[in-house]
Structure formats: structure tokens, C-alpha cells
């Protein structure tokens, strides 16, 4: 039965094909592995182009040989079903495997093997890899901006307090549970504002005043996104209700407001807040630029939140409104106790996406001269003592932002599962 039929392996001669196929496949991977990790080309006797393509050709033949339908071997069937359904898929599979093997050594050497972290000056970076010394020296600035070193405990303490206050909602008994929304929507923002105002900004209670221009780095990213997040949600909710309102004036004003903010880029909104908005205020009235920026971003994001919430409101069946009305509920009672809880539950993913967009938009505040993490990177990059480390800085910031955003999207996914109710 050992008739060699290269074109159509079947379950009559599984073992022959399995061993030949896997052997060829492994040779292909091994060849790429050697050339990638040890820079040895075992096929150097062949013409250039052939030696380059050989692993691919051998690998495809190997995968072709082990593509046996219903072989009866569980693992082989699983493999065939997932990465080896036809020749085209086999080529793609091999290419991806090769690219991964090829890219490991340069990435490893840049990140770790040839990288430097010792020393305090640029001269300490001698390797060809990344210069993490730069990040190490500037880390303080990247986190706290130009905030004076000896006062940084104030930022730490207020952040810890803010996080602690945010977890208050988990503690209280059943009795206090109904005040939770009130707490998160009104009391918590006020407390947060007081904390930031008295502790980080200072100027009273014996604390030295630090102007907002000196704030910066990652802590500013957090402050801006935190406040915008808190403010944009209620505003967006009212706008969504306004857009669904029966009253024409309210509806048209809401529509106009939402469409205006959604139609312009954030950068022009920030331009407006920095150059145009002061013209609209009384002459002797001064508003800090951080406050202006927070208001601008909040209004901007509120329009997006409003559209997301409107989607949830529209998705609710009419029966919910009718049932609540037949119980004699008025407009506000109906919305607070019946409609909004259900609608908000529906739009958790959408809201999370908007919040993610908000966090990703915070670097734009460089327009008005506030330097959060990305702004600080650009400042550090132009420092004459530390020229030429742009790559390290951006990679560092990218990793931090990626972790923040990915964690947020995972959290929203869990939230979505938690509040999922079948209807």
C-alpha cells in the first residue's frame, strides 16, 4: 500500500506522509531560525533568490504532505483545520511564522540585549540598542512634568486619596446604596476638585502655590482625562435627553450643539479655547488655561457621549415608556428610574470607547502649551544633552498608553458581561 502519491495523501499512508511532511516543515523553520539567530545560511551554495525562497518552498511542500483529511490523529486534524486548510493558507502561515522568527532577534537586541540602563549621562549609552538611561533620568519629569521635586508628594497623596474615594462606593450598606449615583455624579467631582485645587495647586493652607504651567507629564494626563470624564458624562446625558425631547426648542438646541461639536476637530476646539475664548470673557476675568482646556474637552466629548446614549435610548422598546407612564411617573421619574438605567446598561461598550478616545486625545493639549506625557517627551527630545533618543521616548510612551487603554477596554468588556441581562 506504500504507493507514493505526492498529490493526494490520504489516511492509507498517514505515517509516511506525516513524518516526511513534518520533517520538511521543521527543516524550513530550522533554516530560518539559524539565519535569524546565528546569521548562518545553510543554503548559501544556492543562488541568492533560491536560497531566500527555499524555506518557503520546502515548508509549503511539507505542509502539503501533512494535509491529510480525517487522519484520525486528533492533533494533526486540529492543526490542519486551523492553519493548514489549503496551499494559500499554508503559505500565509509559513510567512507569519518566518516573520515572527526573523523579528525576534532585532527586537530583543534593541530592547534588552544591546540596551543600556546604567549611568547618568548620554555617554553611558554605548550599545547599539535602546538607551533606557534616558528614560530613567527623565522618568521623574515624564510623570510629574515641571512640578517642583520636593512638592511631588502632594500629587502622590491626592491621587491616592482620589482612588480611595472612588472605591467608597463598594463599602456602604444597603441603606446608603441609593445615594451612590448622587455621590458619583455630584459629590465625588466636587471632592476631587477640592483635592486638586488645594493640594496640587496649593496657594493656601500653608502650601506653596504651583502654577498650572508647571504641571505636566503623566499626572497631567490623568488629571485632564479624569475631570473631562467626570464632566462629560452628565452633560452628554442631558444632551441625549434633550435630543429625544418632545419640546422643539430643546430638541433643536441640543441637535445644533451636538452636531457642532461632532463636526469640528478637537484641535480647533482647543485653539478656540486658547485664542478665541478669552475674547468672550469680561476683561478683568481670568480663567486658567487648564480649566479652559478641561471645559473645552468636556464639551467636545459630551457631544459624543450624547450620541452614544441616544443610541441606547432609541434601542429601548416603547413598552418601557408606556408602562412607566401608566404607573403615573412623570418625565424625570420615568427617566431616572426606568429608562436611563436600562439605556446606560446597553451602551457600556460605546461609552467605554468614547472614554478611550478621550484618554487618547489628551496629548492634544500641547496646542495650548500644556505638556503632558507626549509633550514632555518632545521637550526632552530637544534637550541638547539628550539629543537623538526620540525612539526610546516614543516607545516608552506608547507602552504606557497602550497599557492604560487596553486595561480600560478589558474593564469595559467585563462590565458589559457583568451587567448583561437577557431580554
Amino acid at each position: 500500500m506504500n504507493k507514493l502519491n505526492f498529490l493526494k495523501p490520504d489516511n492509507q499512508n498517514v505515517s509516511t506522509y506525516l513524518y516526511t511532511g513534518s520533517f520538511l516543515f521543521l527543516i524550513a523553520v530550522f533554516d530560518v531560525f539559524l539565519s535569524s539567530f546565528f546569521k548562518i545560511n545553510i543554503t548559501s551554495f544556492l543562488p541568492n533568490i533560491l536560497s531566500f525562497l527555499l524555506p518557503l518552498i520546502i515548508g509549503v511542500i511539507g505542509l502539503h504532505l501533512i494535509r491529510i483529511e480525517f487522519s484520525g490523529i486528533k492533533k494533526l486534524d486540529l492543526l490542519n483545520k486551523n492553519i493548514n486548510t489549503n496551499n494559500f493558507n499554508a503559505v500565509l502561515t509559513l510567512l507569519i511564522i518566518f516573520i515572527i522568527i526573523k523579528s525576534i532577534p532585532p527586537i530583543m537586541s534593541w530592547f534588552i540585549l544591546d540596551a543600556n540602563i546604567a549611568g547618568d549621562t548620554k555617554e553611558a549609552c554605548t550599545g547599539s540598542g535602546a538607551c533606557w538611561t534616558y528614560i530613567k533620568i527623565w522618568l521623574n519629569r515624564f510623570i510629574y512634568g515641571m512640578y517642583p521635586n520636593e512638592l511631588q508628594w502632594r500629587i502622590n497623596i491626592s491621587f491616592i486619596l482620589l482612588i480611595a474615594l472612588a472605591f467608597v462606593g463598594l463599602i456602604p450598606s444597603e441603606k446608603l446604596k441609593k445615594f451612590l449615583t448622587l455621590y458619583y455624579v455630584i459629590i465625588y467631582p466636587i471632592l476631587a476638585f477640592i483635592l486638586i485645587y488645594y493640594l496640587i495647586s496649593g496657594g493656601s493652607l500653608g502650601l506653596e502655590w504651583v502654577e498650572t504651567g508647571a504641571w505636566g507629564g503623566l499626572s497631567l494626563t490623568f488629571i485632564v482625562s479624569f475631570f473631562c470624564l467626570i464632566f462629560c458624562f452628565p452633560v452628554g446625558m442631558f444632551l441625549a435627553l434633550g435630543r429625544r425631547s418632545q419640546l422643539p426648542t430643546v430638541r433643536y438646541i441640543s441637535v445644533g450643539f451636538i452636531e457642532f461639536w461632532r463636526g469640528v476637530p478637537l484641535i480647533t476646539v482647543l485653539f478656540m479655547s486658547s485664542v478665541m475664548f478669552p475674547m468672550f470673557l469680561p476683561e478683568d476675568f481670568f480663567m486658567d488655561k487648564l480649566v479652559r482646556v478641561i471645559i473645552a474637552i468636556s464639551l467636545f466629548e459630551a457631544a459624543y457621549v450624547a450620541e452614544v446614549i441616544r443610541g441606547g435610548l432609541q434601542a429601548l422598546p416603547r413598552g418601557q415608556y408606556d408602562a412607566a407612564k401608566s404607573l403615573g411617573m412623570g418625565y424625570w421619574k420615568l427617566h431616572i428610574f426606568v429608562i436611563l438605567p436600562q439605556a446606560l446598561k446597553l451602551v457600556i461598550p460605546g461609552i467605554a470607547n468614547t472614554f478611550l478616545a478621550l484618554v487618547k486625545d489628551t496629548p492634544l493639549i500641547f496646542v495650548v502649551g500644556l505638556l503632558e506625557l507626549v509633550g514632555m517627551l518632545n521637550l526632552a527630545k530637544t534637550n541638547p544633552k539628550w539629543l537623538g533618543f526620540a525612539m526610546e521616548g516614543y516607545v516608552f510612551a506608547a507602552i504606557i498608553f497602550w497599557i492604560i487603554c487596553y486595561a480600560m477596554s478589558r474593564y469595559s468588556y467585563n462590565l458589559e458581561l457583568k451587567y448583561k441581562t437577557d431580554r
Binding site: T93, Q246, L247, V250, I253, L281
Partner: protein, 383 residues
């Protein structure tokens, strides 16, 4: 009576608040402008701008007016948006389809791409490409030629440009080809409806598209030449390429970042659209004997497009708005040229910021009006 009053009072209050806020702002603006001696008006648009823009699609220098500077910025913005939309659509569709691939490795690679690029702020990505990645490119004199004619250097991408003769005749031939394709398509449809015959419309169209322009080359006096970039020494270390088409690094970085970022969102739209088609549709189509290609073309795609197109247009709008980040790397787009340089020179904050915002607003609103019309047109007409 009672309910009427209850309807009117909230409206009146809202209106009053809005009017008061606007009135307050206008009043302050009036006082502020009086104090600074600025007159509100758009007369400055016709004044000489006296600043240069390094990259412009139309003829422009400092002697032109501010209005023309605005036009330069607008065209540059639209250029970035157009290139970005084309690249991100192609990439997004490929990645979106790859995310549904039965091949585990391909699916994971696509998912990794999406999760990676959409969780990093766009501004950071633009900075990365501009300040880190493109700065690692070789100097003009060290650059290796790509296909022997193009050069990718730290100062931009240099590639041969087309030099046309009698370009208008060529365009006419293209228009003629398009019109005849439409006529043939209609004819083929009628033929199929009336007699059941099918014409190979696709191959005929391709043929027409090739033959018509070819004829203009042979008989219409159209000719095409290439201008190849040539390196030229300015000083001992300064080299520059002359001739051909040069694409500045700002444009490359911006379009690259915008396309890679937006493609992740488009990929998700495409995936959602294809997944939104129920399996029954595919099985039903297969059971009446359609081939896999026909199933995709006649059953899946028409329905999936209905789900895909609205959110994708939204992404196109986002891309256009995000292109304003160009200001961060000094690509002369609308925001940098007009809301940046022109504002600094004239000091007319209110007028210039309003014009800029209105421009973006009208782009967005016109596209969403188009979208609403399209949505109404393709909506499933239920009986």
C-alpha cells in the same frame, strides 16, 4: 391649558439661557475688540499674506492673499484625507477579512494589529513616524534607489513624475470609456431581463478602459514621459534631488499614521458587517446552486455593505478631522497655515477660528447629509 403651559415654560427657559449666554459672549467680545481697536470683519482675507508655505498643490507665495493661503491649507488637508482614506480602506478591508479567517495564525496577527494600533494615541503615532522612524532614513547622498528610480531619504520620498502631452485628450478618452461602459451595462441588464442572455460585462469594461486610452496614444498625439529625480550637490555635504515628484516626510508620516490608525477601526466595521449576515443567508444561497463567488458577490456583500458603509463613513470623517494633527509636525494643512500662521500675523482670532471650524463643520455635515440619504436609499424595505 395646564399641559400647554408646562410645555412652553421649559422651552422659554432654555431659549432664554442660550440667548443670555450668547448675548454675554457677544457683549464681552464687542468690548474687548473695542479696547484693542480691532474691527470685526473679513476684509483681511484679500490682504497680502507675506508668508511662504513649503508644500502647496497650487501656485502660492507670499504675495498672494490670505484667502489663497486658506485655499492652500484646505487643499493640503483634503490631499492628506484622500490618500489616508484610500490606504486605510484597502488595509482595513484586508485586516477585517483576515480577522474572520479560519487560519488561527492569520486571525491572531490581524487581531494583534488592531489591538496594538488603536490603543496608542494618534498624535504619539504621528510623532513616532516623523521624529523617530523617518529620521532613521539615509541622507540623500547615501540613499539606495528603489527600482532604480525612486529614493526614500530623510528629506522625503523622490519618485519619477509623469510628464504628459495633450493630457486633456487622454481624459476625454477615459470619460468616453466610462460612458460606453455604463451604456453597455444597461444594455446587458436589459438583455438579461428580456432574453436571459448574459454578457461578459466585466471583461468588456476592462477592454474598453485599455483600448480607448491606447488609441489616444497611437493617434491622438498623447505622449507620456517620466522625469527621473537626479541628485545634485549643493555644498560639500548638502545634497538634494531635483526633478521628479518629491513627497515631504511630513506628508509621509501623517498619512502613514492616519492610515494605520484608521484602518484598525475600518477593520472592525468590516468584521462586524460580515459577521452580521446570518449563516442562513449563505446556506440558502448555496442551496439554490450559487457558486462561492456568486454567494459573496450577490448575497453576502450587498447585505454586509449596508452594515459596513455608515460606520466606515464615520471613520472617514474622523480621519479628515484627525488630519488637523498635521499642525504638530508642521505639515501645512488648514489648521497650521490658517489657524496658525495667518492667525499669528493678523491677530484676528474670532474670524479665523470661526472660518476654520465652519470649514470642518461643512465637510462633516455635507457628508452626513449624503450618508443619511444613502441610508434611506439602501434601507431594507419591509412589507
Amino acid at each position: 391649558m395646564n399641559s400647554k403651559v408646562r410645555k412652553i415654560i421649559p422651552q422659554l427657559i432654555t431659549l432664554l439661557v442660550v440667548i443670555l449666554i450668547f448675548g454675554f459672549f457677544t457683549f464681552n467680545a464687542q468690548i474687548n475688540m473695542d479696547n484693542r481697536g480691532i474691527e470685526f470683519g473679513f476684509g483681511f482675507l484679500s490682504q497680502e499674506s507675506s508668508f511662504d508655505v513649503q508644500f502647496s498643490l497650487i501656485d502660492y507665495d507670499g504675495s498672494h492673499s490670505y484667502a489663497r493661503a486658506y485655499l492652500v491649507g484646505l487643499l493640503n488637508t483634503l490631499l492628506v484625507a484622500f490618500i489616508g482614506i484610500v490606504i486605510s480602506t484597502i488595509l482595513g478591508v484586508i485586516v477585517g477579512v483576515a480577522r474572520l479567517s479560519p487560519n488561527y495564525l492569520i486571525e491572531r496577527t490581524a487581531a494583534f494589529y488592531v489591538e496594538f494600533f488603536r490603543n496608542i494615541p494618534l498624535l504619539l503615532q504621528i510623532f513616532f513616524w516623523y521624529f523617530a522612524a523617518l529620521r532613521a532614513l539615509p541622507l540623500p547622498q547615501d540613499a539606495d534607489a528603489i527600482f532604480g528610480v525612486s529614493y526614500l531619504t530623510i528629506k522625503g520620498f523622490y519618485t519619477p513624475s509623469f510628464v504628459w502631452e495633450n493630457l486633456n485628450i487622454f481624459f476625454y478618452s477615459l470619460i468616453a470609456a466610462t460612458i460606453s461602459i455604463i451604456v453597455i451595462k444597461n444594455y446587458a441588464r436589459k438583455l438579461q431581463e428580456n432574453q436571459g442572455k448574459q454578457l461578459p460585462v466585466f471583461s468588456i469594461s476592462i477592454g474598453l478602459l485599455i483600448i480607448f486610452p491606447l488609441l489616444t496614444f497611437l493617434f491622438g498625439g498623447v505622449s507620456l514621459d517620466f522625469e527621473i529625480p537626479v541628485i545634485k550637490q549643493l555644498s560639500t555635504t548638502g545634497f538634494i534631488y531635483e526633478g521628479g515628484l518629491s513627497i515631504p516626510p511630513e506628508l509621509i508620516a501623517l498619512t502613514l499614521a492616519l492610515a494605520l490608525y484608521t484602518a484598525t477601526f475600518i477593520a472592525e466595521c468590516v468584521r462586524a458587517g460580515i459577521q452580521g449576515i446570518s449563516k442562513g443567508q449563505k446556506e440558502a444561497a448555496a442551496s439554490i446552486g450559487l457558486t462561492p463567488n456568486q454567494i459573496l458577490k450577490l448575497v453576502i456583500m450587498p447585505q454586509a455593505l449596508r452594515i459596513i458603509i455608515p460606520p466606515t463613513t464615520n471613520q472617514y470623517l474622523n480621519l479628515t478631522k484627525n488630519s488637523s494633527l498635521a499642525a504638530a509636525i508642521a505639515y501645512p494643512d488648514l489648521v497650521l497655515v490658517f489657524a496658525g500662521t495667518a492667525l499669528m500675523q493678523t491677530g484676528r482670532a474670532i474670524e479665523i477660528v470661526s472660518i476654520t471650524m465652519l470649514t470642518y463643520l461643512s465637510i462633516s455635515l455635507s457628508i452626513s447629509v449624503l450618508m443619511n440619504w444613502y441610508n434611506k436609499k439602501i434601507a431594507i424595505k419591509e412589507k
